[in-house]
């Protein structure tokens, strides 16, 4: 059978296995799905755990078909083997993985909240808003990449045998998709952009922004970087809460208005707590690897029952702040629509309790926890914007 014929027959086969040679010299096979595009076979990315999948390695794709025949065994079995070179995604895909782009919601939400709060106070410049978002995203992406670098150097990510898509880092270094040098360059670029944008915003808005920006960059960098390694000292949650809460909300507000105010500070508290809880819950499946490598997070330090109670208490405080803010007239009453996410918080708590020791079953609840922050934050933004309308 020639290559063209084999490629034309591939779609008839329901099952496919991709095989590469691992770093230990063993074949390593994994089921995948595929499609034939212009003479090449695109396979769906599969995870091989700790084993590295390098670019441009020899690989084999085996497609097969079997038809079981009860009482006999089977009556049909056929397969096709294809050998070739595996190209692991393009630079865009690797960038997407290395930077953990989807987590940018943690930045977009507080920046939008700061902007909405400024708009409520009759200040809004679209150009400055875009620049603020750019700077904040650059800090966050720099943090993500730096976090991977330092967790790889300290052995934390390598020790994590149960990484999930929410925890255990991006794994691009472990899988050999991106080199340490490339990651270092990427982090430098992000921090460089963040610092330049920050300085431009300080020049436009005033020196009052400088200290907030400096604090943001320092917290972001020393989150996992030595000598402070804040997350190793049980300060990770606090850093994340400050960085993705008051610093971003107040920063975005200051850029628009040139001053600080109580309302954006109060608005920042629920999102600060909820973003902190993303990290907090994500630390649950990571806790054994973290403990092994001296990363003493809050979850490592506390008993499971205390961790779960802590989650409930923190969520309750987040919602309470909104209610109290409205009662005292600091927040516009439409922000109460953020309470609509309470069922999501309840589901996350139930999942955390039921699957505390099962990283893979816990994964969907970690996803709900991310959604809890996103939806609550966006509803607060909508609530503030509705507040502009209802006060007229």
């Amino acid at each position: 059978m020639n290559l063209g014929e084999a490629l034309s027959r591939l779609p008839d086969f329901p099952h496919a296995v991709l095989v590469v040679l691992d770093e230990g010299g063993y074949p390593l096979s994994v089921a995948t799905s595929f499609r034939v595009v212009d003479g090449t076979v695109e396979v769906t990315p599969a995870s091989l755990g700790q084993s590295a999948v390098r670019d441009a390695v020899a690989a084999q794709l085996v497609v097969s078909h079997i038809r079981p025949y009860p009482g006999v065994g089977y009556d049909q079995r056929r397969y096709i083997e294809l050998s070739g070179t595996l190209s692991v995604g393009g630079p865009g895909w690797r960038f997407f993985l290395a930077t953990r782009l989807p987590f940018l919601t943690a930045t977009i939400v507080p920046v939008l909240l700061g902007l909405a709060s400024a708009a409520y106070d009759r200040h809004f410049s679209p150009g400055l808003a875009a620049l603020t978002l750019l700077g904040a995203m650059a800090v966050h992406l720099g943090l993500n990449v730096a976090n991977d670098i330092f967790d790889t150097l300290s052995g934390v990510d390598a020790a994590n045998l149960t990484p999930t898509k929410f925890s255990g880092g991006s794994r691009v270094l472990q899988y050999g998709l991106v080199s340490l040098r490339q990651m270092t360059a990427l982090a430098a670029v992000f921090y460089g952009v963040a610092i330049i944008v920050g300085l431009v915003l300080v020049a436009i808005s005033g020196l009052g922004l400088l200290w907030l920006g400096v604090a943001g960059v320092l917290i972001s960098y020393f989150y996992t970087a030595p000598p402070l390694r804040l997350v190793h000292r049980g300060l990770g949650e606090l850093c994340v809460a400050l960085g993705f809460g008051p610093i971003m909300v107040l920063g975005a507000y200051f850029v628009q208005t040139g001053h600080y105010a109580l309302r954006p500070l109060i608005l920042s508290i629920p999102v600060a707590i909820l973003v902190m809880l993303i990290l907090y819950a994500n630390e649950v499946p990571d806790r054994f690897a973290d403990a092994k490598t001296g990363k003493r997070t809050l979850v490592v330090r506390m008993q499971p029952a205390v961790v779960i109670r802590g989650y409930v208490a923190a969520v309750a405080v987040a919602y309470l702040v909104v209610i109290v803010g409205v009662v005292f007239g600091v927040l516009p009453w439409p922000t109460l629509i953020s309470l609509l996410t309470i069922p999501l918080a309840y589901q996350t708590w139930k999942g955390l309790k039921a699957h505390y020791d099962s990283p893979y079953q816990l994964m969907s609840y970690l996803g709900k926890n991310v959604s809890l922050h996103l939806y609550t934050g966006l509803l607060l933004v909508i609530g503030v914007l509705l507040g502009i309308i209802v006060r007229r």
């Binding site: 095989v19 096979s29 089921a31 084999q60 009482g71 089977y74 994964m363």
Partner: protein, 170 residues
Amino acid sequence: MVTSAAVVAGMPEAVVELLNKALVGELTVIDRKGHLRTDPLIPFWDGRYILMTSSILFSRKLEDIKRNPRVSLSLSDPVGIPAESFSRATIQGDARVIDDDLHRGWYRLLPLWEAKEPIIKTLLKPMQKLGLPLFWERAIIEILPKRVLWWPDGDTARDPQVTDLREAVA
């Protein structure tokens, strides 16, 4: 079916279930040029080793294994593995070819083989055997598992649970 001995060998129970139910697994070997070669075979589990049998008619993989024992077995076809709770696994290990008695050595696998492919009993009748004589000259491939990657819900886009059996089998 072997389940109790699974604990001894450290093989995860769910993977033992796959081994016991699989009508097919994809065995990959490394040929003399270092290329990967894969064949579908029926895997059996005896509590310590994964066992397969191959006719000398298809001896290429046997020669490859003798040269390089490092192999990988994928248990991943939902049609070929009628397990109650479907999952996927890849087992890496060191294989050995047992071909000192091609006529009858592999008969020890018959109970396990018949459980999965009942027609074998019929095909082994003397007159049937005569029709395919070389097919019944068979070697055993014995794999000592070293590392198991298990995807609990079969979704290989997610990270597998990895069990290192090197200490267990030492």
